[in-house]
Symmetry: none
Subunit: 206 residues, 4 copies
DNA sequence: CATGAATGAGCTTTCATTCAT
DNA sequence: GATGAATGAAAGCTCATTCAT
């Protein structure tokens, strides 16, 4: 699946160098944008020569892929988390999942932003992965919402759309952090949004 | 306010050509992104020589500005519309404004998307205009929500955040149309979102 | 001899327009240099449209030629002046001619400078004319110097070189006016140089 | 002091390549002039790709600076020479200095010419250096002339102007070599000019 | 006669990528 | 394995010149 060219055979070294690249490039790519960031700059940011860069990467595009892969690898446990919430009461489960997702967005704000801004430069298969992650998230939330409706706790017409909205409001923290962070910390933001969301779908109101 | 360089004095011709540029470039810029779209390509798309482009435009950046200005000029009547809703009942007014804003996003989907993706390439003053439009929208919605709360129709903790959410859900139609349009027409989308939003803030539930 | 293209037949109009061009362009060409001055700028300086320009001129090169021809035409009377000095005593004649030449340089400082700086852009035949004027001047001075030697007033080994030096010292006023004008007015400069020159070649010293 | 951009860190290579550029460009710039000589041509003349050029140089302007710096570096010993003449008799010292300066002009004819023709394209700080060199020369000559006057060997009204004239007559060899070299070798030219100059300022004539 | 819109070749400069060391 | 010098295609932009009005 990971078909990025390398001239090295040492699996360990490949991983070390690629993480070095992903970490270093991420910051610069977010700051300057994919096209405006040159390989020379990226290499310097990664404390690496251009030549070394191309030992572990086949093209500039690959660097972008690497950045996404690196950050997405940090989120493999997310779905496990959603599953682990299965035993909780629907409302509590939903709160936990929202909190977890929103915090995840906060942790990798730059990536979330980069995903939207540079999606056209992202290799098709990597883009697909990114979108997949979102779909999984939405599905998971749909599951919880469905359970809540069946339990009579939630009352929702269009479960799919509500699930989508929740994800969108999470991503919004990345898009508009320059605006929202004037008024809210991430903790405030999560608390208030949970209130609004839960209020909106509860079968029995306050 | 519009200080883009031109070598022409013929006001009419300037407007004609600039509209030609804005129309042609919009499509290409959305498709390929600002950096990937070359002047040569843009000129070709606009059925214009490179020289002619630069007769009416001072730089590539100006083309992006032009694209935004052209599309934003189509929305000058929006605020008037918001004001004209002042006499309606809060719930009805809110429905109308949401519908109007969402439809606006639908009309200029490409622009809304471009604004997010290329904001770093956008000239500061044009970016400001774009953000201003959004702030106005949020303020207008805040006004309606406040009136609704005072009238006892709505029950909202954080009016500002709810207003922001509404705008975000409108913009979402542009960001995720590749995904949403599989399930909804814009008419469906507006109807369902209005239901969700109004449900969430109504003081007296069904 | 003057083979610059025109689309007009009206001899008078041609002359009027070409003088308009020469006057206007001269200033700009001196200020910005031939290559850095664009036709658009030149046309604007001449209060003329680009199209009109090309009615009376075949190319950008022609404009440079025109500028030189215009200014050289103001100097046709120079040789007559030299001839008219034939009856004076050698020393007095030389003084008069030096004064006349140096003043001429002062009058058209910009042109003298332009001739050196843009000679490589000047059409061959016009360049030839410019050089011709200088040769004539040198010859005239040689004539006077020879007469002075024969009369026993001057004592000169290399008449040709001295004549050349005199012309050079005149042109110097144009090359180094930014430096010389700090210390001398043109009147001072002429007076002092005449003293130095005459002193250097006089047979009977002070 | 030398702040030209480079992407290389190898001091030796930088110097090698820059000398290669200076040598190659000098010829072309003199032949075609700064504006008419394109980077493509310059690169070809230097047996270098365009990319390599820009590895060692930040802009076209820098190439001109490089050319001047390269040639001026060959003249650092000139002032030392002037100082070393301090113990000689004034007349002999002056002869030596004139000879040395005139030979210097002959060595770098092209540069002397280029300095006048392209001064408007030369970076301010490099132009300053060029002018400084001339001022130093004039000052040095003034020193010798003053000493000669005090010793009763020379009789000069305006020492400063005579010093200036000497430098001008040296530079003339560069400006008019196409004309002068028909009659004189540089050896002849120096010999004859020394005669004329010394004759002109000697207190006791032949 | 006068205008200036239109053109596209050619300019300077950047940058992803290769490869000899 | 690591380096960075070298490359040249392609970018954004300018400008002399033409020609329809």
């Amino acid at each position: 699946m990971n078909s990025i060219r390398t001239y090295s055979q040492d699996e360990n070294l490949i991983n070390t160098r690629r993480e070095q690249i992903a970490r270093g490039a991420a910051h610069l790519l977010v700051k300057k944008g994919y096209d405006k960031a040159s390989i020379r700059e990226i290499a310097k940011t990664c404390n690496m020569s251009i030549g070394t860069m191309y030992h572990y990467v086949g093209s500039k595009e690959d660097i972008l892929s690497l950045v996404f892969e690196y950050f997405m690898s940090r989120n493999v446990k997310f779905c496990e988390f959603v599953n682990s919430c299965n035993d909780l009461a629907p409302k509590e489960a939903l709160q936990n999942i929202i909190e977890r997702y929103f915090r995840g967005v906060d942790d990798i704000q730059d990536m979330a932003l980069l995903a939207y801004q540079e999606s056209m430069n992202l290799k098709k298969d990597v883009l697909k992965q990114v979108l997949e992650r979102e779909k999984e998230m939405i599905s998971a939330i749909e599951g919880i919402l469905t359970k809540g409706c069946e339990a009579g706790e939630f009352k929702i017409d269009d479960i799919s759309l509500v699930a989508n909205n929740i994800v969108v409001l999470g991503d919004t923290w990345a898009f508009k952090r320059w605006f929202l962070s004037k008024r809210y910390t991430i903790v405030d933001y999560i608390r208030e949004q949970i209130k609004i969301i839960i209020d909106g779908i509860s079968a029995h109101k306050r």
